[in-house]
């Protein structure tokens, strides 16, 4: 059963997110991998197995959108759910336009997250 769980990768420089989100996703029935930066994710062997990427927008070094562009260049068509602590409503449409599945503003509810993941997995 566990092996069949889809892999959701999390990239966020905020430690509390990296701590809390995997537990919630596990409760929702996902397998997870958390990375503190985009570079760390790109260097891992999880790219191919990742069914959905939960990606923080603002990070030091490579940002969320940077990683999105990098993955596009690598033709890794991973559905991405952006998350951000910036309460800027103008960001969301831009992110969706760029091909994101969803853009969630922190703090977000488990149902909103689940809905986004469900949408993402449907794309697979």
């Amino acid at each position: 059963m566990k092996n069949n769980r889809p892999l959701v990768s999390i990239v966020d420089d905020d430690e509390s997110v990296r701590e809390s989100l995997p537990d919630l996703l596990a409760e929702l029935g996902f397998a997870t991998q958390a990375f503190s930066s985009a570079e760390e994710f790109l260097a891992s062997d999880c790219i191919g197995g990742t069914r959905c990427l939960i990606l923080d927008i603002a990070m030091p070094g490579m940002t969320g959108p940077d990683l999105q562009r990098e993955l596009k260049l690598r033709r890794q068509d991973i559905p991405i759910v952006f998350i951000t602590a910036h309460p800027d409503e103008t960001i969301r449409p831009r992110m969706l336009e760029e091909g994101a599945v969803e853009c969630l503003f922190k703090p977000f509810s488990d149902t909103a997250l689940l809905a986004a993941l469900t949408t993402a997995l449907q794309l697979n």
Binding site: S16, S20, D23, P107
Partner: protein
């Protein structure tokens, strides 16, 4: 020469005639004897040869007397022209005659004087009471030598033979005398020659000795001495001269002008002229010339004198001379001359008329200025009575009385001090003078020197000064400022009417120390202290003080300042001061300060407003954790079976994130809410870390790569933590903004803290952004100057005022590479230790 008849008397003999008459045989005998006598007479010259004339005469007379048995023979010889004739007489044995030879001489003399050319024949004369036959026999042609007179008592005298004998004897005598005379003359000449030769010899010996002495003298006299030949060539030069000039005798003698090489080149021509003039004229010379002293190579003045030495005929033998070093004399002469010249010049160029008079009141000296002042020339004035010349008629009597009084009593009330008096010019016009008369004893007499200054101009100048003082006074009274002055000791001695009007006090009330009355009571002590300190040190005086204003009936803030007026030696002569009402200005300044403070506050709010998104981000991060953990927790508890352990773990994380959110809120509230500011020790590193924490999300959003380089151990600074953080935040934001358009290079932002050598702590924020125009480097810190499209331009202005309040400084410079660096530096250690430093708390109090 009159012979002594007594000594020459001969015994009387029988005459030849008697013997002839007695005896014819005797005639023969007589003739024979006559011939013998004749032979004897003829032999006489041989006897006489080489003899003196006197000897000839004596022999002749004796022979005649004896041979012819004469009673009397008299000889008279003519002496040299003009001399009395020489007479001689011999008498026979007659007692009568023997006693009276002198009488006979005179008788015959007189007889001969009647006719000096007496010649034969015989005359009978009574001589000495006896009748005598007298025969005159001339000697020489016409008696040119003299006359012999033979006398006999015999009436028949002379007989024929006697006549012959007499004649021959006379001839022989003439010849003998002639010869004797010649001989005698020869002897005289010879002896004269001998005398002269010996005298000359002696003279030459003496002269030679003299010369020896002279040469020795010349050689050793302590002056340079020399002799010159008649042609001017030196033939002797003594050691002194040679030693002085360093020339050798051979050289000096080599040519007449060789010695001239020792003479100063400038003097040569003149010296040569005097020299040759003196030689050629034979007058010798006296000339002054500078000779080189070989000892030290200096030229010194010498007096050279030469006199001619001449022989008996006046022919020049040589010149003798000396050279005397007169440099010292010359110099002292020159000094004296200069001193006299100087004195004369001083007196002549004196601005005062200088006149001296003698005890009679007559002018003895009269300088140039006296000529100018009074119009009388020097030659006109000398010898005149001073009172007649320069004293107005009405004052003359008083002057002369004063002079007499002084001479009589030594008492002169106007002497030795300056008095102002009226004098009169040649033209008759009178003018004011300042006069000082000093009496001096010159020898036995009083002389008076008078210094007289025409003070017409200074009188006018005095008048002008009075006028200009009046003008100045008018100006100080009309100038729209409050002016005052004080003595060097600090006592008020003047203030203009405006001070009185402003304060409502009277001049009398505020003079001296009275001015303290118009000060605010709280200001009296420190103002008095400050004033006395300045009076003591001479430092400029400036105090802000509240002064009573009569118009407002209130104290108003004024600035009172004063500067000392110094004399040439730096001593304070006077204090001059002003009072300026600053009250309105001070209030405006206060208002400005308040406005600035409000502005700073507004900036902070604005800055934080810009940070709203970042703040939300800071809060949202922990909130996100909270929500997620809470959701997980619920799901774990709702599971079957419930995952209690997982729920507990997530709940624990929820609490932790809640605390993190709370921390963020607390920090934000500090920035927004704090009203009063506290001065406290601040760790600048901590302050930086907090600011970084607040700005991080924004910096990340702006894709800025932050590189903190915080010093390992940083001394604490003292100040307002939040204000300093506001500055740091502002610098970080500016740096971030400056890089917002940069895409071709990393957006590095360096923030560094470090210790400076001068006990300061420095914070540096370096970006790699667009930098700024170096032309506007200082304007960056002006309020409302901005390079940003959306900035207000007050951030840096406020930042700088905050840093300066902390006694630090804030500056900007361009990097070597891209971007700019902003730094501030503030002193370490507790602020407020230095009393005169502005107290940040005071400045900020009004927020």
């Amino acid at each position: 020469m009159t012979g002594d008849p007594g000594l020459m008397a001969q015994p009387r003999r029988r005459s030849n005639v008697e013997e002839q008459l007695e005896n014819p045989a005797g005639e023969i005998k007589r003739l024979r004897r006559c011939i013998n006598d004749l032979v004897s007479f003829l032999a006489l010259p041989a006897v006489w040869t080489g003899g003196e004339p006197s000897q000839v005469v004596h022999t002749l007379l004796d022979t005649l007397l004896r041979m012819l048995h004469l009673d009397l023979v008299y000889l008279r010889l003519k002496g040299p022209i003009g001399d009395a004739p020489i007479e001689m007489i011999r008498v026979g044995e007659s007692q009568t005659l023997m006693s009276r030879p002198k009488e006979i001489c005179e008788l015959l003399h007189r007889w001969l004087e009647d006719d000096p050319q007496k010649s034969l024949p015989v005359v009978r004369k009574t001589i000495g009471g006896e009748d005598m036959s007298i025969v005159p026999l001339p000697l020489g042609l016409q008696g040119g030598i003299g006359m012999i007179i033979a006398g006999s008592r015999r009436a028949d005298f002379p007989e024929q033979t006697e006549r012959l004998l007499l004649s021959v004897a006379a001839n022989q005598a003439a010849i003998g005398l002639q010869e004797a005379r010649l001989l005698s003359e020869q002897k005289r000449v010879t002896s004269e020659l001998d005398r002269r030769v010996s005298q000359r010899t002696k003279e030459l010996v003496d002269a030679n000795q003299e010369l020896q002495v002279q040469v020795g003298l010349l050689q050793h006299v302590p002056v340079a001495a020399w002799t010159l030949g008649p042609d001017g060539t030196p033939d002797f030069v003594n050691h002194n001269w040679l030693e002085y000039t360093g020339q050798a005798l051979d050289y000096v003698q080599s040519s007449p002008e060789a010695w001239m090489t020792a003479v100063h080149p400038e003097d040569r021509e003149r010296a040569s002229r005097s020299y040759w003039d003196g030689i050629r004229s034979g007058q010798g010379f006296t000339m002054e010339a500078r000779f080189r002293r070989v000892l030290d190579g200096t030229y010194r003045w010498h007096l050279n004198r030469a006199v001619a030495l001449r022989d008996r005929e006046g022919k020049i033998l040589r010149f003798v001379g000396t050279s005397t070093d007169i440099e010292d004399v010359k110099q002292s002469e020159e000094k004296l001359r200069r001193a006299e010249e100087k004195t004369r010049l001083i007196i002549d160029t004196a601005l005062d008329a200088v006149i001296t008079i003698d005890a009679k009141g007559q002018i003895t000296s009269w300088n140039k200025q006296a000529e100018i002042s009074f119009g009388w020339s020097h030659s006109e004035a000398i010898g005149q009575h001073m009172s007649d010349l320069i004293i107005p008629e009405r004052l003359r009597k008083a002057h002369e009385q004063g002079l007499r009084h002084f001479l009589a009593t030594g008492d002169g009330p106007i002497l030795r001090r300056r008095i102002e008096i009226t004098a009169v010019r040649r033209s008759g016009s009178e003018f004011p003078v300042e006069l000082e008369v000093s009496p001096m004893m010159l020898g036995q007499d009083w002389v008076f020197s008078a210094f007289i200054r025409d003070i017409t101009d200074s009188k006018q100048a005095e008048e002008k000064l009075r006028e200009s003082e009046l003008k100045l006074r008018q100006m100080t009274e009309t100038i729209p400022e409050m002016l005052w002055s004080a003595t060097p000791a600090g006592a008020f001695d003047y203030c203009n009417a405006r001070v009185l009007h402003y304060t409502g006090f009277s001049a009398e009330e505020i003079m001296g120390n009275g001015w303290r009355q118009f000060l605010h009571p709280e200001d009296v002590d420190h103002t008095s202290r400050e004033w006395m300190s300045c009076v003591t040190t001479g430092a400029p005086y400036r105090v802000e003080v509240r002064i009573y204003n009569a118009a407002d009936c209130a104290y108003r803030w004024c600035v009172t300042s004063a500067l000392p007026l110094l004399d040439q030696k730096g001593r304070i002569l006077k204090w001059h001061g002003t009072v300026v009402d600053m009250h309105d200005w001070k209030q405006a300044q206060e208002e400005l300060r308040n406005t600035q403070a409000e502005l700073a506050h507004m900036t902070r709010v604005t800055t934080l407003g810009e940070l709203t998104a970042s703040i939300a981000h800071e809060v949202n991060q922990p909130l996100s954790g909270i929500v997620t953990n809470a959701s997980t927790c619920l799901r774990m508890l709702n599971a079957d079976p419930p995952n209690v352990e997982g729920a507990r773990e997530t709940a624990r994380r929820t609490i932790r994130d809640g605390n993190r959110a709370s921390d963020v809120i607390t920090r934000l509230r500090a920035l927004f809410d704090r009203k009063s500011f506290t001065i406290e020790p601040v760790d600048l590193n901590d302050a930086v870390r907090e600011v970084i924490a607040l700005s991080l999300s924004r910096l990340q959003r702006d894709r800025v790569i932050l590189r903190p380089e915080l010093a390992g151990s940083l001394p604490l600074v003292t100040g307002d933590r939040v204000q300093l953080q506001q500055v740091i935040l502002n610098l970080l934001q500016n740096a971030s903004d400056a890089m917002s358009g940069i895409d071709d290079r990393p957006r590095y932002l360096l923030i560094r803290t470090e210790v400076e050598e001068t006990d300061h702590v420095r914070l540096t924020v370096q970006d790699s952004g667009v930098g700024f125009d170096p032309q506007v480097a200082e304007r960056l810190f002006k309020a409302f100057y901005t390079t940003k499209g959306d900035g207000m331009g007050i951030g840096l202005s406020v930042s700088r005022s905050i840093i300066e309040t902390h006694r630090g400084r804030l500056w900007a410079k361009l990097n070597d590479g891209p971007g700019a660096t902003f730094s501030f530096s503030i002193p370490r250690g507790p602020a407020g230790q230095t009393p005169d430093a502005p107290n940040p708390e005071q400045v900020m109090r009004n927020r």
